[in-house]
Symmetry: C2
Subunit: 478 residues, 2 copies
């Protein structure tokens, strides 16, 4: 057993000090076994193959290979060459010819893949239990839903089994499970990460997302993976800046009290208040904004015809073998049968109108801060009602991709009841580095543990303090 956290800084320090990569890979598999949760991974890479990959890395060199020797996992709706891609639906299962574009970038940078993780089937859900496989246990509290759809990927990181993992995020699948498991969930600008080799959910609204123990780790993986892919028609050429010094003054929009929604969870409300205070202490000028139009946009995901995008992915399966689809998922996606092309266009018109209403609000601030989730739901809650709590978990996430915002969910100080605190910073497309930079400072300031582990988040030596706006300074990673 090797008693170090799997954040990249710790691992690279260990490698620099002579630790052999094979030891870390072995430790990774040991931890997976020790975790004893069959719900996390749907498929593990054979340990010998992972060791083989590690051997091929050559001498430790974090400059040419910024993810040298870093173990990671991918959600099982993302292709890995010669492995099945299941999307948590055995009947859908196909053997991938090649690694997804993003997986290939990460491996080229030295990351070692150890497995493919469980998810809400076809990435449809925010709870993480809509899978024919046993759901992964929430890493912090097994009575709570793990969050989804990227459930396995988030739990694997939160339990310290891998350094980072890939999820996908259409309506919040890369942020909600981060919040529920006390980790970082980076939801990039749409098109920044190629979708080649990813099972689509809503192709116009999907992105791969990244879970990690620290903002710097998530961002480093993001920088490695963010390569323009001419084969993905939705890939965009975006500048991916390094993490940056947060400007001495910046405006952060938060929902007005009247338009905050916690479904009665006063502790979550107080936790959000605390986070706002922290952002103020970091130099943020807090601007209260009526969030009604953002919720109107969020409702488009349900009122509009976007569910038909999910339908296009499994239309054949639904026709030939409907029982193969999870009953809740099936009920949701089959709604597309009632939607006409005219409905699709009417939804787009409405969205375009809402975008115009929201545009000046977006322009009025540098970024937004919202709770990542409004409250917590237990497995029991979901047994009683599989739809309602799922929808409510998306309160602060559903509108984000429809509005082409980027975002990052980041842990803040634990709530007074011990549950993880989390807020999400959101900004216009292309501002990934801005939100990540503030998220990093906010994370350090929160003095939390890493995920569900006992390891503390250590302030890197470059940052002297995050208590005074005059001293903050974040070094570029990589």
């Amino acid at each position: 057993m090797i008693d170090i956290p799997f954040d990249i800084t710790s691992l690279h320090r260990a490698y620099g000090n002579g630790m052999h990569v094979s030891e870390i890979i072995s430790e990774c598999y040991r931890r997976i076994e020790e975790a004893a949760d069959p719900g996390i991974f749907l498929q593990l890479i054979d340990p010998d193959m992972a060791q083989e990959d590690a051997k091929k890395l050559g001498t430790f060199n974090p400059i040419t290979k910024p993810l040298w020797g870093i173990p990671f996992a991918v959600k099982d709706n993302i292709d890995v060459g010669d492995m099945p891609t299941t999307a948590a639906c055995p009947a859908y299962d196909y053997k991938a010819d090649a690694d997804a574009f993003v997986v290939a970038q990460l491996r080229k940078a030295g990351a070692i893949l150890v497995g493919k993780t469980n998810l809400d089937q076809f990435a449809t859900g925010l709870v993480g239990i809509r899978s024919p496989y046993p759901p992964p246990k929430n890493a912090v509290d097994p009575k709570i839903v793990p969050g989804g759809s990227s459930s396995g990927s988030s739990v694997a990181v939160a339990r310290g089994l891998v350094s980072f993992s890939l999820g996908t995020d259409t309506a919040g699948s890369g942020r909600v499970p981060a919040a529920l498991n006390n980790i970082v969930g980076l939801k990039p600008t749409l098109g920044a990460l190629s979708a080649s080799g990813v099972v689509p959910a809503c192709r116009t609204l999907d992105t791969i997302s990244i879970f990690a123990l620290t903002v710097e780790d998530a961002y480093r993986a993001f920088q490695v993976a963010s390569v323009y892919d001419p084969r993905d028609a939705y890939s965009r050429e975006l500048p991916v800046n390094d993490l940056q010094e947060v400007p001495p003054a910046f405006r952060v929009g938060v929902p007005t009290r009247e338009t905050r929604e916690f479904f009665g969870d006063a502790i979550q409300s107080a936790s959000f208040d605390d986070a706002i205070v922290s952002i103020g202490a970091l130099g943020g000028d807090i601007v209260e904004i009526d969030f009604t139009p953002f919720y109107d946009v969020a409702n488009m995901l349900y009122e509009g015809a976007w569910v038909a995008e999910r339908f296009t992915v499994i239309a054949n399966l639904l026709q030939e073998n409907p029982e193969a689809v999870h009953p809740v998922t099936r009920a949701i996606i089959n709604k597309a049968n009632d939607l006409s092309a005219a409905d699709a266009f009417l939804g787009m018109y409405r969205l375009q109108e809402l975008k115009r209403i929201v545009a000046p609000l977006i322009e009025s601030v540098d970024m937004f801060c919202v709770p990542s989730i409004p409250t917590f739901y237990s497995l029991a809650d979901l047994e009683e009602d599989p739809i309602g709590p799922n929808a409510r978990l998306g309160t602060y996430t559903n509108f984000v991709n429809l509005l082409d915002l980027c975002g990052i969910a980041v842990p803040v100080a634990a709530r007074t009841d011990g549950r993880p605190g989390s807020v999400t910073l959101l900004a216009k497309a292309g501002k990934d580095s801005l939100v990540a930079s503030l998220a990093a400072l906010l994370h350090y300031r929160s003095e939390v543990r890493l995920g569900a582990t006992n390891w503390p988040l250590l302030l890197p030596p470059e940052i002297k303090s995050v208590t005074s706006e005059n001293e903050i300074c974040l070094a570029a990673v990589g």
Copy 2:
């Protein structure tokens, strides 16, 4: 009778020399009466009201009012306050509260509205005869279709009845009738002209277009009308530059011979060859491009689900009173009944992929030059087959709005059989002034008559010659 052409230069010169605006307005109505074509206008403004509008202009001042005293007409799918908007469907007819945003801009700049013009019902068609009203006669040859959907607007300009007119252009309705009537058809960048107060065809692909006798006139009206409209969710803030000096060297993409399509019309093919020679003489470096992917995009208009956009506009009418819709139009738009929301998204995915294929071709040149129409069709042809010739007329227009290009159809030298020659210059969104600038030179070089009139197009004094690339220079209008 006043024997001057109605181009803006001629009218403003006359006003400057003491002509009274009331005389021009009277002459306008005299010409309309003399034209004796009941198919052109669906509604005329009462001449006394037009004279009243003219009276309110005050002293002639083309600086504060760049369209001072200029008579114009609008297609009857565009609102004029207190007048019915019919879209050429009496059962659809509603009384407009106010002028369409663009009409208001033009009137504010001094233009005098005289009437509302006939069209292919609901702007669905490129022939100009799908209307319950008598179709306007083609201004050049009454046996030929007038072209549509903006049939009345194009004929009114070509016959010299008004200085300019508004059409709309989704699939080519602002270019095809320009080509068929020997006039200029300016198809702006999508979103440059507000759609507020316009009956939509395909809301994501529509624009108001402008017909005029000269490029400068069309462009002047465009500059006046191109004001950002916050109430139109599809309006875009675009810089509208003045007409500019054409650069001494520029690259013009034309279809390879193998991918030119004239449906056997060798004269049209030769006319296009001549136009290419002219562009070369004006300094253009001609680049032959395989146009197959552009035609693939064009096919999306039919294979994709965009017809459902038209359906959203008249869904109620089709349900409650289907007989009120022109049978050809009804058959086309009812196809939307078979299209699902999934079909709509699949079409968008395919379009996005095609856009990626076409993007480097667009980047490789400054603009494209294509024939405006591949050939001519007679009224008799359309009686035999109301669909096929209509579709073929869109060969070089259907892909343009799907690819977010701007364009301008401009007359070139008459064909050897006397029929009007026309090419369309196309460029990326926002390059309206570039294509218009070259179009103006090409028009002058062609030494044609204005529309179907006997007035020649006179080289303005600022342009010494358009025969040598060393001497071309186009002054800014307005």
